[in-house]
Symmetry: C2
């Protein structure tokens, strides 16, 4: 490997999208200890959204992180840093302490390209409070070239530390990732790059390796791949395969053995045919997620026909 | 895509290693029809080993293919050609009819590099009987460079049509496959190349795409990935993703919907932690397969310790 990479494990944050953040404190603690022992640099411990701005108060505390609670969960913070994600329009900036008083090190802002200005406003705010910041541009496979080129100038002028390439629909091949990382590198020479891949076509790990090869520094992953729909690049594959690093596979295997097998029995994610179909068709997984929640969950051909039949008006 | 590829579905042959070839005639028929409708070029319908030379007479008929039985199973052969695999020392050449009288089009010979001479003898024999032939060199990640270079000269001089790169241990990254395919292309300029990948690290599909990019023509896969241990590249991913071809995804989804979900409930294969560990460590999956057959099947850390502890004498 030509450069240092950093793994950011987002099991709690992205995995919570599968089980409504129903994670026990014991699990989150064990995960933190396991990731720290494995040498993983960051753990994304949830969303820092505001319960005032977003329904879902039945969700676990990891959707609305609270500093006091975080201190109870992780009384002894070690090498692994903590991050939280915020969504545009769902975060109340007044909820956020200056970094010097916070358990969090990194705040990541997720946005669609149309909300770039709002996202950069948040980045500026968090940066001025002392946080490391990242900008996670979602649904890149639906962004047109001229929109992206216009965005680069604004992003490069901002104080953001890391810019993420997010394959929200799990529709990209490694070649696509290679081209995108090269393009981002050329146009954002002063930013670190990150990749957040989805596993609809079993390409999350391969695409992340392509990201590394082309110069991405931040690699998102989750233990046993737990994440929305098809899930993410598997943390255990990264720590087991990245060479010349301090990573240790064994502690991640310990977390899978103790917790993830049981969690996977109750909650579904991963390579599942309707998610694969959505990836092949470059579509949001929401229709496939609805199918998996219904009695029709294994009616793959009917689902395929539904997604591929062009409505008369659209012809 | 720069060149025509051919998909060879080996669900029955490689998948049979998971369930002792316990496939119904109805399933094999539906699979043939589905693959034919999907545009898949070859279906590997089993092993052409001899029951006289190999124990396992309790295995389904797909392990010891018989021409008369094959004619009953597939009374109307369509575009999809049929292939069978033979193992060195397990095939009785007298069992094999000339191609003009056979249901089979392609006979593939699997061998370790040490058995190359025996393999080429079989290739010569089958070639003289009119069959298309392939040589599938297993365990390439354990072959040393000078052995491989010596083998190339013999192989190039033989009448074999296709030479396969087989990642038996599922331990290779796409980069490795790229390097190997380039090397085979340079040293075997008159042979078609094939790739047979295993999915221990969720790289079977990505590695197969790399094979295509570098010029491989024959792509092995199985429906829903069914194959020994971690399984193979998924047929549905190939037909869903390869561009500029006649491939159709829907018929393969039909086979998965009707059969594979049920088969997977009874029989295990795929991305399972001990197979991942074996892949990371570049080892044969047999120890992991034994673990999965035991009461300790989810004791991942103990398994990892066992495989990574160096015996004093080996230090």
């Amino acid at each position: 490997m030509k450069h240092e990479v950093k793994i950011l494990d987002c099991t709690i944050r992205d995995g919570g999208l599968c089980n409504n953040w129903d994670f026990s404190v014991e699990f989150v603690r064990d995960l933190y200890e396991g990731l720290n022992a494995a040498g993983v640099e960051y753990m994304e411990i949830g969303y820092k959204n505001s319960p005032k701005l977003l329904k879902g108060s039945d969700a676990g505390p990891w959707r609305f992180l609270d500093e006091k609670f975080l201190r109870e969960v992780i009384p002894n913070k070690k090498n692994t840093k903590l991050s939280a994600l915020v969504d545009i329009g769902r975060v109340d900036e007044n909820d956020i302490l200056p970094r010097s008083e916070s358990m969090l090190d990194l705040i990541r802002v997720a946005c669609y390209i149309k909300d770039l200005d709002k996202a950069l406003e948040l980045v500026n705010k968090f940066h001025s409070m002392g946080y490391e910041t990242s900008l996670n541009i979602m649904a890149l496979s639906h962004v047109m070239e001229h929109e992206l080129m216009a965005a680069f100038a604004e992003i490069e002028a901002s104080p953001v530390d890391v810019v993420y390439i997010v394959d929200s629909y799990g529709s990209m091949h490694s070649k696509d990732i290679g081209v995108l990382v090269e393009k981002f590198k050329t146009n954002l020479p002063n930013k670190m790059l990150g990749v957040h891949m989805h596993n609809n076509m079993q390409l999350a790990f391969a695409n992340t390796l392509m990201g590394v090869e082309k110069g991405a520094v931040f690699l998102d992953s989750s233990v046993y791949g737990m994440g929305r729909a098809a899930g993410n690049c598997n943390t255990e594959l990264l720590v087991g395969n990245l060479k010349n690093t301090r990573y240790e596979l064994r502690p991640v295997l310990g977390v899978i053995e103790k917790h993830m097998i049981k969690i996977r029995e109750k909650t579904e994610w991963g390579y599942i045919i309707p998610y694969m179909v959505a990836g092949v068709l470059n579509e949001h997984p929401r229709v496939a997620m609805a199918l998996r929640d219904s009695d029709e969950k294994d009616n793959f051909t009917e689902f395929y026909d539904r997604l591929t039949t062009v409505e008369p008006a659209m012809k």
